[in-house]
């Protein structure tokens, strides 16, 4: 960006500004090329109502629309009077130059209780693209660009008149990902989140809170304390929407398909690890509303309602227990719409128990897919729908406004979650002196025999929390409660009060050994907040009972979170563990920098070590140790049985291997061991270049009796150990008809590494073999293609050599499925395949327009489906209704997100718009191997790449990396070059109908 000093002379901008300002205020009604989803012809409420297909037993009505000033609504919250506050952001996605901010927070009211809002008034105006808010402490917490602000109406005229910045420094690098989704926890903590392109730096009294990329924020208003969790997009790329279960269990929804149980991630540490999701939708959706009202059908109770903004649905998920966490499955939707402008973006149960749905109403979903100034971006409409259950009475909400504390407290017993949520917020904002005595009395008078007694105590504890009042006896009472939920919540609160309680670990100790796994998980997360060395010793006691993915995740993070405390204490001998295996686990997870080989050897002697811990300790020993330690490791019985140990050793830097150590390794290469152990030992020999075992490997590789996989790996190792001297052997094996295919392929691989010209000869011979599938052909060409200069050598060889037509066709499809852009090779293969004419289509808006017209008027979806199914390169990468690859974007509802024009561009010229997260990365290793795919995760040491071929990600050590380039799409251009116009037309028609009902 050229800064201002340089650009004074430019006179054009004023004109541009003028043009833009005209565009904002005039809405083109005509369909425009390159829209993301075609705008609806009829934008009326009636037309949208007609588009709805509702599950049986429900009724849908309009609650409010643009007629009450609701245009581009993005969030809504209820107040205690039953008024609905709605944030509208027509300035999204970008305010024009010099334009005054004009986004609003409006209050809607249904005064005559007929289920329709009848009045609206603006509480705050002139807002700058805020994405979320929540009511509290007599005002509004608002996420507005870089700031978390507090708006308040101090003179009672219904309009905000003060604006206080509470925290600032939140990132704004992408305007649909700034801080959003505000919600109070049961203990009065304000949670919100940020998305993938957001980098925040916020100054607090505890230091600078840094959150890079997607993260979840927690704000404790009275302490002015801000903490972030799960940054680095480790629990969804764009979190949007969270909620708390009846016992405070936290969940959050990605804007993507995934749903998360947040709790294991609430361990505060800079260490990043991907949190496993608990379930997913077919395609994107946001927001969680948990049904807790008597009005809606009993069958719906406890289900998660999700805003399926992408495929125009209101989705429903059922969440059930899964060990210390949960699992979720998708049920039939509550509502589907055929209108592509129906975009549910917030869902809340209302005071009457009805389900209220905030409808962004826009053909263009969000952001990057279409131009920022696309005329189809709807700036005029916005709807709020109200879904009721037919034949079930509505809930009569109690009067909550201006009620004394005692009245409010009794409402904490309500079955209606809406009521309890409002009451908690109201009690949090009342003066403590008014609340405390009444609350004390209320708790004393609770009926101990009430089945909900402990839940009522939990709500009371939440009220204390919201005032930052530490109430230890109540906490201890819940900690020894009958309900697992009560104990789990007590554990959570002990963590929250870790710096205020005298002995937080004393409370947590029984809870970390609780019979219920969810209690143990909450206790573990709580322990991570107790900044003492002993906390780590206590945390590892969770290992005494069965572990699961949530507990493992939290325990790993806890080791990092508490490292500053346990590590020095351990070094000075001031930290004791109940069991040596607990220490062994910790050291295996996070090896202390001061640990010596002797330390490791001693720890490895510990009894009852799990194979994982033992393996990890042996690996740490290998990392720090010398030749005698390597001998020690290879002498271990597990070196004869644990293939994973040997595999992991092979990934370490080369270590000194003595004759004795090599002799030990020879045992692992014995044919009596499993093929897995053999192969891992071969990998180790290959990686560490252990030449003394080359003869042993040679025996295995040339022995027909041995498992073919072992032989294949043996050949590859011999290439590394013996170099070009193995070429004659490999060449013989590669061309011999008696050689099994796996061995031939391994030979091709070996030759490719040694000499691409020789490899091209052998590869073409293999390609010429008749029969086989696309997949076979892909395996045949892969060794050479994946080698530096391999494609060139193959092209050169094929220029002089013919292939049978069917083989040439297979080769073309194999290249496509592999995602290889090799125009010359493709041209030659097309020539050899003869049968088809080649149309290299050039992009032009006119062409797209013409084709789109043909798609609409003549497209045959049935024929298109056939083309899709017979073209293996599509499903190699894309999932469609649960089948196919995952490396490319999911196509299940592509027609809901993209117009046929957009799909045409995506299919024919994939490099034009690359979907977020689908950039191709290509790395070349120092050995000349080329790996291409999608980068899924990167640390300081390794890159995880998802490739077309493998189901597991390739993990590449950065030390092995020669180069890395990121450019373009993984989808090759020209996939449709051999298809006719009619074929393309029908395929597009098929794709554009995907997701329709």
């Amino acid at each position: 960006m050229v800064l201002i000093q340089k650009a004074i002379t430019n006179k054009i901008p004023l004109l541009i500004a003028f043009i833009f300002s005209q565009i904002y205020h005039s809405l083109a009604q005509t369909i425009n090329p390159m829209s993301v989803s075609p705008a609806e012809a009829d934008n009326s409420v009636a037309a949208e109502l007609k588009s709805f297909q509702l599950a049986d037993g429900y009724k849908i009505e309009l609650f409010a629309s643009e007629e009450l000033g609701i245009a581009d609504p993005c969030a809504m919250r209820w107040d205690e009077k039953g008024r609905l506050w709605v944030l509208t952001i027509p300035s999204y996605p970008q305010l024009g130059p010099g334009q005054k901010p004009f986004d609003k927070l409006t209050i809607l009211e249904d005064r005559n209780h007929d289920g329709k809002a009848d009045t609206s008034h603006v509480f705050a105006d002139g807002l700058m693209m805020p994405l979320g808010f929540e009511l509290g402490h007599g005002g509004v917490y608002l996420g507005e660009q870089t700031e978390l602000v507090f708006l308040k109406d101090t003179d009672g005229d219904g309009k905000a008149d003060t604006r206080q910045v509470l925290m600032s420094g939140f990132g704004t690098h992408d305007s649909h990902q700034t801080i959003n989704s505000f919600l109070w926890s049961p203990g009065g903590e304000l949670f919100f989140s940020q998305g993938h392109s957001i980098y925040s730096r916020v100054e607090t009294a505890w230091g600078i809170e840094k959150a890079d990329r997607a993260a979840i924020w927690r704000y404790r208003p009275l302490r002015r304390q801000l903490d972030n969790f799960l940054d680095g997009s480790t629990a969804s790329v764009n979190p949007w929407g969270m909620n708390f279960g009846e016992w405070g269990e936290m969940f959050h929804k990605a804007n993507d398909p995934e749903l998360f149980y947040t709790v294991p991630g609430l361990v505060k540490t800079a260490h990043r690890a991907l949190l496993p999701p608990i379930g997913k939708l077919v395609i994107k959706g946001s927001i969680i509303e948990i049904i807790r009202t008597k009005h809606l059908p009993d069958d719906l109770k406890g289900d998660f309602i999700i805003a399926g903004y992408y495929n125009n649905k209101i989705e429903r998920m059922r969440v059930t227990s899964d060990s210390s966490g949960y699992t979720a499955r998708l049920l039939e939707p509550i509502l589907s719409s055929s209108s592509r402008s129906f975009r549910p973006i917030d869902i809340k149960v209302g005071p009457d128990g009805a389900l209220y749905v905030l409808d962004w109403y826009n053909p263009i979903i969000g952001h990057y897919q279409a131009s920022m100034r696309h005329p189809d971006r709807d700036k005029m409409h916005g709807r709020i729908w109200r879904i009721t259950a037919t034949g079930r009475p509505l809930v009569q909400p109690p009067k909550l406004a201006d009620q004394p504390v005692a009245v409010l407290l009794d409402q904490l017993k309500s079955d209606e979650h809406w009521v309890r949520y409002q009451v908690k917020r109201l009690l949090a904002e009342k003066p403590l002196n008014d609340v405390r005595p009444v609350l004390t009395e209320w708790v004393e008078k609770l009926d101990r025999n009430d089945p909900n007694y402990e839940h009522q105590l939990m709500e009371a504890l939440g009220v204390y929390e919201s005032h930052e009042v530490v109430h230890e006896s109540l906490l201890r009472q819940l900690a020894s409660g009958k309900e697992p939920g009560a104990r789990a919540y007590a554990a959570h609160v002990a963590g929250r009060w870790a710096d205020q309680l005298l002995k937080p670990l004393e409370i947590l100790e029984p809870l970390i050994r609780d019979a219920n796994p969810r209690v143990r998980l909450e206790a573990l997360v709580a322990v991570s907040a107790v900044h003492k060395p002993e906390a780590m010793a206590l945390a590892t006691q969770v290992l005494d009972q069965p572990m699961d993915k949530f507990l493992r995740y939290a325990l790993e993070k806890t080791a990092y979170a508490l490292q500053d405390w346990w590590d020095p204490a351990l070094q000075t001998g001031k930290l004791a563990f109940k069991k040596p295996a607990q220490l062994a686990w910790l050291v295996s997870m996070l090896p202390p920098s001061w640990y010596t080989p002797d330390h490791y050897r001693k720890l490895i002697q510990t009894e009852n070590l799990s194979p994982e811990v033992r393996r990890s300790l042996l690996l740490s020993l290998a990392k720090t140790g010398k030749a005698p330690d390597i001998e020690f490791i290879l002498r271990q019985p597990s070196a004869q049985t644990d293939a994973a140990l040997l595999e992991n050793l092979s990934k370490l830097d080369v270590k000194p291997v003595t004759a004795v150590a090599a002799a030990n390794l020879r045992n692992s290469l014995s044919p009596t061991k499993t093929a897995e152990v053999n192969m891992a030992a071969i990998h180790l020999a290959r990686s560490w270049k252990i030449r003394p075992v080359a003869a042993t490997i040679n025996h295995l590789a040339t022995n027909n009796q041995i498992d073919q996989r072992v032989r294949a790996e043996g050949l590859k190792a011999l290439v590394e150990l013996n170099g070009r001297t193995v070429l004659p052997l490999l060449q013989k094996l590669a061309v011999s008809a008696e050689t099994p295919r796996v061995i031939r392929l391994a030979s091709l691989k070996g030759i490719s590494e040694l000499d691409v010209a020789l490899a091209a000869n052998a590869t073409v011979l293999e390609m010429q073999r008749p029969g086989g599938s696309v997949n076979d052909m892909q395996e045949t060409i892969a060794p050479l293609i994946d080698q530096r200069s391999g494609t060139k050598a193959l092209t050169a060889k094929l220029a002089k050599t013919a292939l049978p037509k069917p083989q040439a066709r297979l080769a073309l499809e194999a290249l496509a499925a592999k995602g290889i852009n090799a125009p010359e090779l493709v041209a030659r293969l097309n020539q050899l395949a003869e049968a088809r004419t080649i149309v290299a289509r050039k992009y032009s808006p006119d062409y797209v327009e013409k084709l789109a017209k043909a798609v609409k008027e003549q497209g045959n979806a049935k024929r298109g489906e056939l083309i899709y199914q017979t073209n293996p390169s599509c499903s190699a990468c894309h999932a469609l209704n649960g089948n196919g690859g995952t490396i490319g974007p999911n196509l299940s509802a592509i027609g809901r997100g993209l117009s046929s024009r957009e799909i045409i561009t995506e299919v024919l010229w994939p490099n034009q718009n690359i979907k977020e997260g689908y950039n191709r990365v290509q790395v070349e290793t120092k050995k000349g191997e080329i790996i291409q795919g999608i980068k899924v995760f990167e640390t300081a040491d390794v890159i995880h790449i998802k490739t077309t071929g493998l189901t597991k990600n390739r993990v590449i050590d950065k030390k092995e990396l020669a180069s890395q380039t990121e450019s373009g799409s993984l989808m090759p251009t020209g996939l449709m070059d051999t298809y006719s116009e009619e074929d393309v037309r029908d395929l597009i028609r098929y794709l554009s109908e995907l997701g329709s009902n």
């Binding site: 960006m1 050229v2 800064l3 201002i4 000093q5 340089k6 650009a7 004074i8 430019n10 006179k11 054009i12 901008p13 541009i16 833009f20 425009n32 090329p33 390159m34 829209s35 996605p93 970008q94 305010l95 130059p97 010099g98 693209m129 870089t146 206080q164 600032s168 420094g169 704004t172 690098h173 992408d174 392109s197 980098y199 730096r201 100054e203 009294a205 505890w206 230091g207 600078i208 840094k210 208003p221 009275l222 302490r223 002015r224 952001h367 990057y368 897919q369 279409a370 131009s371 920022m372 100034r373 696309h374 403590l432 005032h467 930052e468 009042v469 710096d499 718009n913 690359i914 977020e916």
Partner: protein
């Protein structure tokens, strides 16, 4: 066999120090008996008595008198015991000096001695006062023998009196070598006795019990090379930049200081840009891909006056991290240092821990109560002095203000009252008027609207699409012509708007001029 090993080690150390340091005591400098290697235009003032050189004037002296050594010095250490009789007279030791004329007047450094000048560094006949601190004065025993040491290595000069450090100056492009001369000052009769202990060439850098790195930390630029805090008025066309964390960033939202600066010089056209970015520290100034670094931003704006504030959030890391902070700060400032750029360091403000929570129950063990922000402020002052930057102390005046305790919103960040006080302090330090007759509100309004434009232009939302890692997405492109990027074009449209806003500021400035 431990003993021999130590022995070997010592031998190695000795030979190393001999090879590399080459410290050498000069035996020819003074033989203790006569003035064989010394000269003066009038030798009648000079004699040797009891192994010491005596300069005596029995009559009032008209001009300064010098006794010149024939030994040339560059990097050296000189140890002398000196006594002035009577004790209110003035003398001095010239070093790395030249004769200024045929009367033997000296040109060059002088380690000064005498009433009110003890232990100061003067540049005789030249640049005059170089280090005028009173540290040496405090160590002197009046009327007694005083132990005077001079250490000059490269462009670094230190002196010590009675083992206490007096001068510590880093003088780039100063006199690199020259001669030593002893002085008796013009004036009333006096006797000065110089007992020369030793002269060492290429000495080891240690003095007054301090190591080289400790000595280096004390270095300051000489007074004539320090940035003058007096020439602080702004010139027409000056580009003033404020940089730092949230407390700086917030200034663009209240415009208090900026309004006063503009009002103080109503006929001067100034450009003022706020580059404050929440969470910026000397260790990290986070900017998104394609944004350009902190220092590059200053350059592209053509900033010639830069106010920088760091150290507040950094102080939460405690005293142990102070050296790391100072060295990072120094490095950061080095990256923006330019001949025609004035840099003024603003000290961090004191914390108000009582404001960091909303209710008594919300009180917590946050770091504000223990953070040594004063030590950070003091270290920044020293850094400014030694590097020749301007400095405005906000810490001490704010802490001693009657309003202290109610100057921040949250214990860290200034509220409007705090911003007003800070503005006053900065204006005072800049020697600009603090009170204004006219109504500043319209000027401030224009400044605020300029600042909004500036912020939305400089740090707009959607940066990822404008110039970050998502520029290829359709978002920033035209909807019909995909090759055209409309987002950068829109950003350009800000430029005339900002120009116009600046013009309106200038118009408001002029309205503040008294009507003739």
């Amino acid at each position: 066999m431990i003993v021999p090993r130590i022995f070997v080690a010592v031998l190695i150390w000795i030979s190393f120090s001999a090879t590399f340091a080459r410290a050498q005591t000069d035996k020819t400098f003074f033989n203790g008996k006569n003035l064989a290697s010394w000269s003066a235009t009038d030798m009648k003032y000079w004699s040797v008595k009891n192994g010491a050189i005596v300069g005596r004037a029995t009559q009032p002296v008209e001009k300064n008198r010098f006794l010149w050594s024939s030994v040339k010095v560059a990097d050296f250490y000189l140890s002398i015991d000196v006594k002035l009789e009577p004790d209110d007279r003035n003398a001095g030791i010239q070093f790395r000096s030249q004769k200024a004329d045929e009367t033997g007047q000296a040109l060059g450094y002088q380690a000064d001695m005498g009433k009110d000048v003890w232990g100061r560094l003067y540049h005789e006949h030249g640049r005059q006062k170089l280090d005028w601190s009173d540290r040496g004065e405090k160590a002197v025993q009046r009327g007694q023998w005083n132990h005077y040491e001079i250490l000059a290595v490269g462009n670094r000069i230190w002196t010590a009196i009675n083992g206490k450090l007096a001068v510590a100056v880093k003088d780039p492009d100063g006199d690199a070598s020259g001669y030593i001369a002893l002085q008796i000052h013009s004036g009333e009769p006096q006797t000065v006795t110089y007992k020369i202990n030793r002269l060492v060439h290429n000495p080891k850098v240690e003095l007054a019990g301090l190591t080289e790195s400790q000595l280096n930390k004390e270095l300051k630029l000489p007074e004539d090379k320090r940035q003058s805090n007096h020439s602080t008025t702004f010139k027409s066309g000056d580009v003033i930049v404020f940089a730092g964390g949230t407390n700086i960033a917030a200034m663009r939202k209240d415009g208090i200081l900026e309004t006063r600066i503009m009002a103080a010089q109503p006929t001067t056209r100034l450009h003022l840009w706020n580059l404050g970015w929440d969470g910026d520290t000397v260790f990290e100034q986070f900017r998104d891909v394609g944004f350009g670094s902190w220092s590059k931003n200053l350059d592209s704006l053509g900033a010639n006056v830069v106010f920088v504030q760091f150290g507040q959030l950094e102080s939460l890391q405690g005293t142990n991290e102070l050296p790391r902070f100072i060295s990072a700060y120094k490095k950061l400032l080095d990256s923006i240092r330019k001949p025609n750029r004035r840099i003024v360091l603003l000290s961090p403000i004191p914390f108000e821990p009582e404001r960091s929570y909303l209710t008594p129950e919300g009180k917590s063990n946050n770091r504000l109560t223990t953070a040594p922000v004063e030590a950070y402020a003091d270290a920044i002052r020293k850094l400014a002095e030694s590097e020749g930057y301007g400095f405005v102390d906000l810490f001490h005046p704010l802490r001693s203000s009657a309003l202290f305790g109610s100057l921040t919103t949250d214990g860290l960040h200034l509220n409007p009252e705090g911003h007003r006080l800070v503005a006053e302090l900065i204006m005072k330090e800049l020697k600009l008027p603090g009170a204004f007759a006219g109504d500043l509100a319209p000027l401030r309004q224009e400044i605020l609207s300029k600042n909004v434009l500036w912020f939305n232009y400089w740090r707009p939302s959607n940066w990822a699409f404008l110039n970050g890692d998502r520029t290829t997405q359709p978002f920033s492109h035209d909807w019909k012509d995909k090759s055209r990027r409309i987002f950068p074009e829109e950003m350009k449209a800000f430029e005339p708007l900002i120009r116009e806003a600046e013009q309106r500021i200038e118009d408001e400035q002029k309205k503040l001029l008294p009507v003739r």
